[in-house]
Amino acid sequence: MHIPDNYLSVSTCAVLTAAVVPVWAHSIKKVTKDFPRERFSALGVAAAFSFLAMMFNIPLPGGTTGHAVGGVVLAVLLGPEAACLSVTIALLIQALLFGDGGILAFGANAFNIAFIMPFSGYYAFIFLRKLFGGMSKKTSGSGVSFSDYAALAIASYVGLNLAALATAVQFGIQPLLFTDEFGQALYCPYPLRVALPAMAIGHLTIFGAAEAIFSVAVYAFVAKTAPSFAANESVLVPKLSEDAPEAEPLSEDAPESESKPSSRWGAIYLLLALLIAATPLGLLAEGTAWGEWGAEEIAETIEVDGQALGYVPSAMENGFQWSAPIPDYAASGLPDWLAYVLSAIAGVAASIILFKLASAFMKDRSPV
């Protein structure tokens, strides 16, 4: 879901950054109040935790794996404000130190992943827990009722998908707003009717499931083990100590305790199976957009077929040969001779790089 640079216009990035600044300010204020002097270490730790959470691969039913963000479970454990700040720092590290997600798009990513996701997920969780609270009193052996897990799983799913929706909208408005005089998109070329379903497919299925599993798994473990910490003037889990004060004291074998886990996990997998099975329904719920897209896309392909065929080869040529003269749609202030000199230099440099890369690979392969 991390938006790279060059897919959003610079102005979109600026607007989203401006939108997320007040959220940061609010979060800093709230966290400073809630986490008095310990805030430094607590925030640093939480940010590191959220960064690492994003590195984990989540096992999914059927043997595949997916990534989770962890934004919602953090919000439930730490409060949405602390989660917002932690995820923001984690995103900064990813962008700057790992090139994952753009630098200019940092504000946009923070808006989606550090603002929309934890806040919406958190309030969805609160709402759902109230909603389920009356329905079920069955506890799952760790002081947290089964309905809490259901609420968390759904809230995570909702939070992730809202963030994905926001991302899709940001992609989708680019071709609407930013095109050159030939109608060519300057940034992301996909309109909403393509961007929305493209994001929805992955996030309503694999990533949504990964997020829900991750949230529930982490929460289950911490809830089981946390009471002892909650008593110990916990820095990191103020919310949880509220949630599970009457939980039974930590037993010796707590992390591995066999409190009927199979039935609980069975239920969660069932829930996930339902969610996955319901995915086509979710796509249909996008309603007309999804239905139309299929037909229109095909029509368009046929419509522009001749043109596209005529166009592709030249575009490929420009795309793959660095030495190609400046594409005709991008006017330039360079004289022709300079363009050719540039091409020559680029060609030489590129072949040196390729040669070096190739020999680096050869060295790796050959037995020493």
Partner: protein, 270 residues
Amino acid sequence: MQVPQWLLQEERITPPKDRDAFIRKSAAALTYVLTKARRIDERQRSRIAFSTQIKLALTLLFVLLVAASRNFAFVEIVGVALLVLLATYEQEKLARVLILPIQALIISLIILAPSLLLGQTRAFVVVPCKTFLTTTAISLLAYSTSWNRFTCAFKSFGAPDSALFIFDLTLKYVVVLGEICLETLEAVRLRSVGRNRRKAQTLGGIVGVAFLRAQKSAQEQFDAMTCRCFSGKYRRFKAPMRKIDLLGVALCLGLLSLFIYLEIAIRCSN
């Protein structure tokens, strides 16, 4: 001490097949992070390295201008310059720097391929090119800079000290908790010789342990800070500037003027 008989005999059990890709993949991701964390700053090894604040400024400016430029000539010129710079690198460094941008290039080509059907040829060429250049710049920055130097650079851009402190702490805990997670993952992998039917629970355990260790660690560290008279202030030493940094400033200015010249050129030609 009585050693049970079965312990003295050779075991003859063929373990059932299991898909534990999540452990392998997670461990690989963590190892990748930790290797990067231990990188030593280039400035300690090389005399011709810019100081981090200059590198950061140059990279940010580069990314901003490349993303903002409407004149493809700008992308071509800086692209060629970057290629020439890359060509001077030794093999190993080159391979490490280029892994990320090449992945980014391939992914964006795949993402954008269908846009050709929409007739969006410009995006298909421009966006991957720009993406390759900006990720190369960031990758270069990340490769040549050790993590803690970034904080120094933020400082010279006027970031508040408390924010720097949190950033430093985060980096520290990424390493500390990352090591814990990796150890736990390895332990789980070494012991999972059979079929693990409760993978999600295993994962919850690993991440949960890290969470609780983190929370304990935060408390302990606050104690350590108290013991060293912490009164709410945090300061960092500034990285000393070198003469070569002037060249960096000149590069920034050059990049900016080229950008302005070419943008005016394209406006005039329309």
